[in-house]
């Protein structure tokens, strides 16, 4: 992560928002000054060392620091961890994601873990125990707690109404189970001795060790160099694996899959039957959130959204299931250049997500989902099965950024051409003479509206509701075939959501799909900024490379002056650039070529920078609003007002307060949306 000025500013603002001014100031200084000691920090900030130490302690507790202590020295030098500071803005998303896929209890645990920073399991359990005991004590006197009954529905919708007061975690055993689940999902990992070393420090020490080993063995030359590289990668992997020690221990205790199924989000809330089966975790372990894995899950969700935008919701749902299965053991979005290039195979999951079979997907689909939705109907003879089912063993070699036209260009040319060509152009007849092939499909041609699915009332408010179709009798295809249809659509898509990597085996090539997603994000910014014609011109340049200004109007079918104006507009916006190529020494403008081109990578990095700055601006606007409404806000913080603003505040104050809250929501929402973009551009 490149820490530019806006990033630094953003991180400081986020730390300020969540942990207060003191840590924020120290954090900002650490970002700008680099590695510093307490005394240096005190000097930089004109604060007392005592203040600095307090601030550092808070930062350290919340995983926002790296530090380094030289052997034999008392003094530590500290460094900021901007990744984690940035991740603070993702808190809402991560919690919502955990709530949706693991249930309210897991969300509660994660929230408390985030709140307290790195925490010993012991302490977390004690805190929960205290809360549970209190609840038990008071529950006796009160009427029966039906809040708990409502809790089982928690994952289905807003847990707003269910979480009031009612305990989500009802026993320490349940807590243990939840932690186990999160550890297994790698969303929580273990803090170890080197967690707070910067990657540079770790690399250095590992290098040192490897060198020492090497000199002892005395290997030299090119082979030795290679070996050293491998040893270093090996060493680094070992360090990285330390944070997964808890997970490994759990796995040794029996297959996780046996104990529970990954997809049954419902089980977590009434985890009674699981209590016995989960091993009790070592209470001395210190755990914290693992953002890397959270990002993998967030990436899955973004890709599902992408598929929804491009295809249909049902197909996107299938995609989501596929992704979840596929990335179960994918620890991070991007492979590490040093650690993950080594060729040793012991954990090849890092490099290759493997594949998922059709049956696996089928097993994990919700039974309530109607797979007949979201796909058009066509007669058998209208479909080329050889083309649809084509297996692609290897990921695409070309960068997807070039242009879709070319990506699609390669297809099975040599396969059964006759079957394709037989049904050539005559489309008027296509939809009529279908009776011959399949009598039952008669009405289901493109004219048929038989596919109407009646709504059924039982739609529950999950993210996407799929109706169990009333038209079940009408369904001609069996479920596996329907599933295949969705998978094949994903595989055939221009975006390349899925690769059919073997008979009934599916995988996702994340690099190209994320590249195409980036391009889509860029395109929507271009289209929203410079209109559809602007987008057209950029995509022409992307497809054709550098293009003479004179050649453009003809390709784009645009008038010259309009086109030139558009190009200038886009040049100003940084989407395109121009190169002047003089034809002779005189460099007469009239005779020179003006070659337009677009540099996608540059545009993307510019967009990233704009995103950071937009986020900073949103937070600064919020700060300005707070300043403007400070008298109101101070009032609401008063102890006699808090919690019953409605009753105690003057009407005008109250209205101002509620308007402020609305603005605050809007601004944070915007920051989070921009973060969606940043994730795509930087992290996925």
């Amino acid at each position: 992560m490149l820490v530019t000025k806006p990033v630094a500013e953003l991180c400081a603002l986020l730390v300020d928002e969540l942990h207060g001014e003191l840590p924020s100031r120290i954090f900002a200084i650490l970002v700008s000054k680099g590695r510093s000691t307490v005394l240096q920090l005190s000097q930089y900030t004109s604060m007392t060392p005592r203040q600095v130490r307090h601030g550092l302690a808070v930062l350290q507790q919340h995983n926002l620091l790296y530090y380094h202590v030289d052997p034999g020295s008392e003094l530590a030098s500290y460094e900021a961890n901007p990744e984690n500071a940035y991740n603070l803005i993702r808190t809402g998303k991560i919690l919502e994601m955990i709530d949706t896929s693991f249930g309210a209890a897991a969300k509660d645990v994660m929230q408390n873990l985030l709140l307290s920073g790195q925490t010993r399991i012991l302490d977390l359990v004690a805190a929960y125990r205290e809360k549970i005991e209190h609840a038990a004590k008071t529950a006796n006197g009160a009427e029966d707690d039906d809040g708990i009954a409502a809790e089982t529905n928690g994952i289905n919708g807003d847990s707003h109404n269910t979480k009031k007061g009612a305990l989500v975690i009802k026993s320490t055993a349940q807590l243990n189970t939840v932690i186990c689940r999160l550890v297994e999902a790698e969303l929580i990992d273990v803090v170890h001795a080197r967690t707070f070393h910067t990657s540079d420090d770790i690399l250095k020490s590992v290098e040192k060790e490897a060198m020492a080993k090497q000199t002892a063995q005395g290997a030299k030359g090119g082979k030795g160099k290679l070996e050293l590289q491998e040893n270093i990668a090996e060493g680094l992997r070992k360090v990285r694996a330390e944070s997964k020690s808890l997970k490994r221990k759990l796995e040794q205790n029996g297959s996780a899959a046996k104990r529970r199924r990954l997809f049954s989000g419902l089980e977590s809330t009434n985890g009674v039957h699981e209590e016995e089966t989960d091993p009790i975790l070592d209470p001395r372990q210190v755990i914290r959130i693992n953002y890397e894995k959270c990002l993998v899950d967030l990436r899955n969700r973004r890709l599902v959204q992408y598929a929804t935008d491009m295809l249909s919701e049902t197909t996107a749902y299938v995609y989501g299931v596929l992704l979840k299965l596929l990335t179960k053991d994918v620890p991070r979005c991007r492979a590490d250049p040093i650690m993950d290039v080594g060729e040793d195979q012991d954990d090849d999951n890092d490099k290759n997500p493997g594949f998922v079979t059709t049956d696996q997907i089928l097993d994990n689909l919700k039974t309530s989902v109607d797979l007949s939705l979201g796909v058009g109907k066509a007669e058998k003879h209208q479909i080329s099965f050889s083309a649809a089912e084509e297996v692609q063993l290897y990921p695409p070699k070309k960068k997807a950024l070039i242009e879709e036209v070319e990506v699609v260009g390669e297809a099975s040319a040599d396969e059964e051409e006759d079957s394709e060509s037989e049904g050539e152009p005559d489309y008027d007849s296509d939809y009529k003479d279908s009776a011959a092939t399949n009598g039952t499909h008669d009405e289901n041609g493109i004219n048929g509206m038989n596919g109407i699915k009646g709504t059924n009332g039982g739609t529950n408010g999950t993210k996407v509701t799929f109706d169990e179709s009333a038209a079940r009798k009408e369904r001609k295809m069996d479920r596996p075939t329907q599933l295949r249809q969705h998978l094949l659509i994903l595989a055939e898509s221009t975006q390349g959501f899925v690769r059919h990597c073997g008979r009934n085996e599916w995988t996702v090539d994340f690099v190209p799909i994320i590249n195409s997603l980036r391009e889509v994000e860029l395109d929507s910014v271009i289209e929203r900024t410079c209109g559809r014609q602007g987008l057209r011109l950029v995509r022409i340049l992307r497809a054709k490379g550098k293009l003479d200004e004179k050649a453009l109007p003809n390709v784009a079918l645009m008038r010259k002056p309009e086109l030139q104006q558009k190009m200038l507009e886009m040049q100003t916006a940084g989407f395109v650039a121009v190169q002047e190529v003089p034809r002779d020494v005189k460099a007469d403008v009239k005779k020179s070529f003006f070659l337009w081109f677009c540099d996608v990578d540059r545009s993307l990095s510019q967009m990233l920078d704009t995103s950071y700055r937009t986020m900073v601006h949103c937070l600064q606007v919020l700060e300005a609003l707070r300043h403007k409404e400070r008298d109101v806000l101070e009032t609401t913080k008063r102890s006699d007002v808090r919690g019953r603003e409605k009753d105690t505040m003057r009407k005008s104050y109250y209205e101002r307060y509620s308007r402020f809250l609305e603005c605050e929501r809007k601004l944070f929402a915007q920051v989070m949306r921009v973060d969606d973009l940043v994730s795509v551009l930087r992290d996925f």
Binding site: A378, I383, A387, E492, C663, K666
Partner: protein, 412 residues
Amino acid sequence: MANPAKLQILKDALYEEIRQHGSATRLFAQSDILDLNIIPNNDLELLMNVVQGLTDDKLLIGTTNHHAGLSWRWRSREEAKKYTSLPNDDAVMVYAIIDEAGADGIWNRTIKNRLNMHEAVVKSTIKFLEAKGYIASMKNVEHPNKKMYIKATLRPSDRATGGPWFTEGELDTAFIAELEGIVFEYIKTKSAYRGSQPTGTAGPTKTPKRGAVTAGETTTLARGTKRSATEMSNDDAAPAVGTTRTTPSTTTTTSTKTRAIFLPMPAGYKHYPTVAEMAKFIHETGITNNTTLGEADIQQLVDVLTYDGLIEPVRVGRRRGYRVARATKQDTVPFHKRQKEREAGVGLNLSLVPGAEPLSNGLTEAPCGRCPVFELCEEGGPVSPSNCVYFLQWLDLEDVPQALAPNVGFPP
């Protein structure tokens, strides 16, 4: 030998024979003419006389060609008559050079330079020729500011006019836009399945469907059977196409539970429309009454639609077709119908261009994304987030705060 009558007969015979053997652009070398067996005994001198005579009559045009040496082309008698009817050499020379330029036309400055004539002479000659109806002025799209001339009988070449997309030297963007709409509509209906979906499944991100929900028995394009009143009244305002084929919307929505939606076709679908099919379709509709659009022209149009991100090429087997992008997000009401509605004042908030609403993201929705002073904006500067008026507007705080209704905001 020099019998004028005989010479005339030979001339006529040779001229007719030459015309039999090729078009006005074919070059005939000396040997070619001899091989026609008109000139007795291959008498070269006679040949020379005959050819000279024809050239004088402007029926043959002599040219020198690098490969074949001296050679000739024929010219029609009417054309030749025009030459011979011209009063003076100046007029002949000017007319000849314009004739030579053919369908591309020629710039008047070029005429002047090549003939080395005085400008006034060229001007008056051109004026004379124009008045006689022999030549006409024209515009060349490549040089819009140059005054060009062309033989009145010729139509300017595609290169000069810019092809079918130009009208009087100007790119006819209205025509292009209209055709784009038609081609897009065609691809949309041919490459996606028009089905229906329970309304309950509308995702949270979806913009609410505006306008009437059409329950769709009318799936493929029904050809001009029924028209709504609004369409009728606007017939003259819009070019023919839109009105000839419209989908009558059954406003009596029988079931409110479903809505029409386009769905992607199953993988391996073999009937995504090709350019050839589109060209055929366009030809059959007769929209382009006086311009003929070849497949190459349609391909150009389709490419533009592809660059616009509205459609995408698909190759199934050897067949290269096109399908609509983001099928489920497309409007099920045909674009032309939307245009009609717009003219009638309905649905003015809908997009002016065919295709689905462009995607948006956090940047495009924030005031900063397209902010004109973004580069200047900085805390402490004259333009800063804390005094940003755009943000106030965005947050609905721009006006007197008190006047604001408290419940503008978020869905529950």
